[in-house]
């Protein structure tokens, strides 16, 4: 089961939307970071069950952060949420090891489906 979630996004509004889209009938321990580097540091510290990661961020972008997180833990479950929906971006993100990619703005339905998929695959620490 997913319990700890790290949300990495430079937009406070986007982080708020992710939190609001999580199922209301479950409890999660949430962590946040405002850029890729801060997200990587938080990832190392808390070892989250799931990461929601933006792409276009200052300091370290999302693709670089994704690669670094997977170097730390090759089983990390990273869901990229982005406004950049160019085909090349999507293929680059998936080739870099993302679990999946969600288009912004997120919806509760899309987030619930991702949680179901992650937990269904048993992809991460139980």
């Amino acid at each position: 089961m997913i319990h700890t979630i790290l949300i990495v996004d430079d937009s406070t509004i986007s982080r708020k939307i992710v939190k609001k889209c999580l199922p209301k009938d479950r409890e999660f321990e949430l962590f946040e970071a405002g850029d890729g580097l801060a997200g990587l540091e938080k990832f190392k510290e808390v070892k989250p069950d799931l990461v929601f990661l933006d792409l276009t961020m200052p300091v370290m972008d999302g693709v670089q952060a994704l690669k670094e997180m997977l170097k730390v833990d090759q089983d990390a479950v990273v869901v990229v949420q982005t406004a950049d929906v160019q085909k090349k971006t999507i293929s680059n993100v998936m080739d870099s090891g993302a679990f999946t990619l969600l288009r912004k703005p997120l919806s509760p339905e899309a987030v619930a489906e991702v949680l179901r998929l992650v937990e269904g695959t048993g992809h991460k620490k139980g």
């Binding site: 509004i13 406004a83 912004k104």
Partner: protein, 214 residues
């Protein structure tokens, strides 16, 4: 606090607008990438409120790396009301023309290179401005219409940047994003400048957007 300051967007409202601009420009870039063989490198957009009288200097500073520019100016009309400025540095028209896969020879002697470059800039602006403004407004559950674009090719910023967009003593909200075409060494700047006429509606629409997540 002045009436104008009270009407201006709060910090959170500006953050919401910035995220909507981020989403909208991402969609616009994907639309453009479908039309021409390019990849658009996106940057974090910025939103700020300025006095209208300070706009020309602000824009000039943002593009200060470039002595000569081309600029497309297009108004959007509706409750979300303002002016879009798409600015490219000198030479961008020629590079964009290549992205469309066009050669001046294909058009015969009657068509000049300058005309084709102008057309390529207008085509890119049509996609980027139309899709970006359209998506922002769609996310705010409204719609806009567009005026015909006005284009100035290869001129000095002091001649090209419009000085009298809105009433000089009013405020404007400026949404700015910078982008690059990765394989062509072309940068571009998109400014969406909303007049204070739309502030009241915009504040309500932005808060309504967030209410769906409450």
């Amino acid at each position: 606090m002045s009436i104008a300051a009270e009407q201006a967007l709060s910090r959170e409202e500006q953050d919401i607008l910035q995220e909507l601009m981020n989403i909208a420009f991402g969609r616009a870039s994907a639309d453009l990438a479908e039309v021409i063989d390019t990849y658009v490198v996106l940057n974090v957009p910025e939103v700020r409120t300025l006095k209208v009288v300070d706009l020309p200097e602000f824009i000039s500073t943002e593009i200060s790396d470039h002595d000569i520019i081309s600029i497309v100016e297009q108004s959007y009309l509706g409750r979300f009301k303002g002016v879009a400025l798409l600015i490219f540095p000198s030479g961008a028209g020629r590079e964009l023309l290549k992205l469309f896969g066009d050669n001046v020879e294909d058009y015969g002697e009657d068509v000049s290179m300058a005309a084709l470059e102008k057309e390529s800039i207008l085509e890119v602006s049509n996609i980027l401005i139309g899709a970006c403004v359209g998506k922002v407004v769609e996310l705010l559950d409204d719609e806009v219409s567009f005026s015909p674009p006005r284009i100035i090719i290869e001129d000095h910023p002091r001649n090209a940047i419009p000085c009298e967009i809105f009433e000089p003593d009013s405020l404007a909200t400026v949404m700015r994003t910078v982008f690059q075409f990765s394989d062509r060494n072309i940068s571009g700047y998109l400014f969406l400048i909303n007049s204070n006429e739309s502030f009241q509606w915009l504040k309500k629409a932005l808060n309504r957007f967030m209410e769906q997540y409450e």
